[in-house]
């Protein structure tokens, strides 16, 4: 477990000197700030502010869909391309500790970014009376963290499979998008659409967490998908030894 932490803290620190991480953070804050400003500005002009923290969270989720693959793309792909993985895997570290450490480092970085976005609901809360629904806010943020953890785990898995970070970005994005839109197949009736809806990343988020409802199935969905991706990622890293 200590090795996981050592790898994670290295990756976490690495993000603060990486241009990609700053680009991602800037993108998130810029777009989010813009959306927030426009919403509040027009609400004030219409003298009617919708007191809802989701004003921020809705667009944030969409941005994260694109941001998380950018954060995970080089984690393992670059190590494999540069050969640095050789020294990592000849250190007394288990393969899964490397994979989980990488994922956890990325998650820590995203948590910092997400924590900063909390400022917008706080502003909104000050502006409105009687303030915004804090319960929904907490639930929506909790769901967001789970969603991000899952997306990062999928990104790490893809990064383990490939040796080219750019390819890893696009493949991870494609996978996330597929898991994203599969839910829209679930709008119809029948068993097929039920399966589609249960697979969807968004349905598990927007249907409950986003509305302030924390349920066990949704939580389990995110946790199990995360674990599955990380286990597969570890298998991929281990299988490289046998080639």
């Amino acid at each position: 477990m200590r090795n996981v932490w050592i790898v994670a803290s290295k990756e976490f620190r690495q993000y603060f000197i990486s241009p990609v991480a700053y680009a991602v953070a800037t993108l998130i804050f810029l777009i989010l700030g813009g959306i927030f400003f426009i919403n509040v500005y027009f609400a004030i002009r219409g003298s009617q502010i919708d007191p809802d923290g989701r004003l921020v969270l809705g667009p944030l989720v969409t941005i994260l869909l694109f941001a998380t693959p950018a954060l995970t793309m080089r984690l393992l792909a670059e190590e494999q391309r540069m050969g640095t993985i050789e020294l990592l895997l000849t250190a007394p570290v288990r393969d899964w500790e490397v994979v989980v450490g990488k994922w956890f480092g990325a998650l820590l970085f995203m948590l910092v970014v997400i924590a900063f976005t909390w400022v917008y609901p706080l502003i909104l809360n000050r502006m409105t009376s009687p303030g915004i629904d804090q319960g929904v806010l907490v639930s929506a943020y909790l769901g967001l963290v789970l969603l991000v953890a899952t997306m990062l785990a999928i990104g790490v898995l893809v990064s383990a499979l490939l040796t080219n970070p750019v390819a890893a970005f696009f493949v991870a994005l494609a996978l996330l998008l597929a898991l994203w839109i599969v839910g829209s197949l679930g709008s119809g009736a029948g068993a097929g659409s039920l399966v589609a809806s249960n697979l969807s990343l968004v349905d598990h988020y927007y249907n409950n967490f986003y509305r302030g409802i924390i349920t066990t199935p949704d939580t389990l969905y995110f946790v199990s998908l995360t674990v599955l991706a990380l286990v597969l990622g570890s298998q991929v890293v281990e299988s490289r030894r046998w080639r």
């Binding site: 050592i6 690495q14 000197i17 050969g83 640095t84 895997l89 000849t90 250190a91 007394p92």
Partner: protein
Amino acid sequence: MIQVEGLTKYYGDHPAIVDLTFHAEAGEILGFLGPNGAGKTTTMRILTGYMPPSSGTATVAGFDVVDQSLEVRRRVGYVPETVPLYPEMSVVEYLEFMGSLRRVADLDARIEAVLAEVHLEERAASYIGNLSKGLRQRVGLAQALLHEPDVLILDEPTIGLDPAQIIEVRKLIQEIGRSRTILLSTHILSEAQQVCDRVLIINRGSIVVEDSPANLQAQLAGAERLVVIAAAETSELVKLLKNVPGIADVIEGMQEGEVQVSCAPGTDARPLIARRVIEAGLDLLELRTVGVSLEDIFLQLTREEAPPLAEPN
């Protein structure tokens, strides 16, 4: 310290090493010599626990590289051929990272010690990406020495360095090798000659020869070669020397009037050659022996191993 038995590794259908057996004693510097693609890196990767062999066994410091991989990895320091490092980290940051993964006790003191050992104290705060190839090689060595390993495995430690750096790194290896077992690969023969206690010549995945550099040279000592230069036409000189007793072969040299003569083992043909040239009324300009280098041994051994050039399909 290192015990390898019947080690074989296939990449798909292609064998990289076949039935390799050798050992290295504690405190020995063992040179692993061979052309590119001979299987040196593959063997080293197996010994460091990076990849498992297809068959055969290998133990390092008494631990099996497959079943007790983590124990082996704790006791081995490894510098891969390309010295893969993180360019965006500083030297100290990198050593802190590797040292903490290796659970090095009193890490700060150890980092200071290895930086001194590889003469890198002044560049401790530099980013690895800004270092020259030679300095990066030393960072790689520092990383490998951090946990005071019993065994050091160095894959082509002098490749791509300039002559001054090569001499420095070799000196460094000899210093380090006083207290540790070192397995180092190279395709530069003079390097093995200088640095190693024992040399393994490997070609196409098999060991061709295993001996000390001095013994290897002694083996071929009988078959010495001579360079003869005389003020004459080369062809004339060849004809003249061809039937001197004790001479096995005469070939034309690089310049007009120069020939290279191979003697039969155990004979010294020099007095006879000198007399013959002068008796023919020619001026003898030079007559010297050419020592047999490891290069010659190596070429001879690997050439014998090579299959015929054209293979019918």
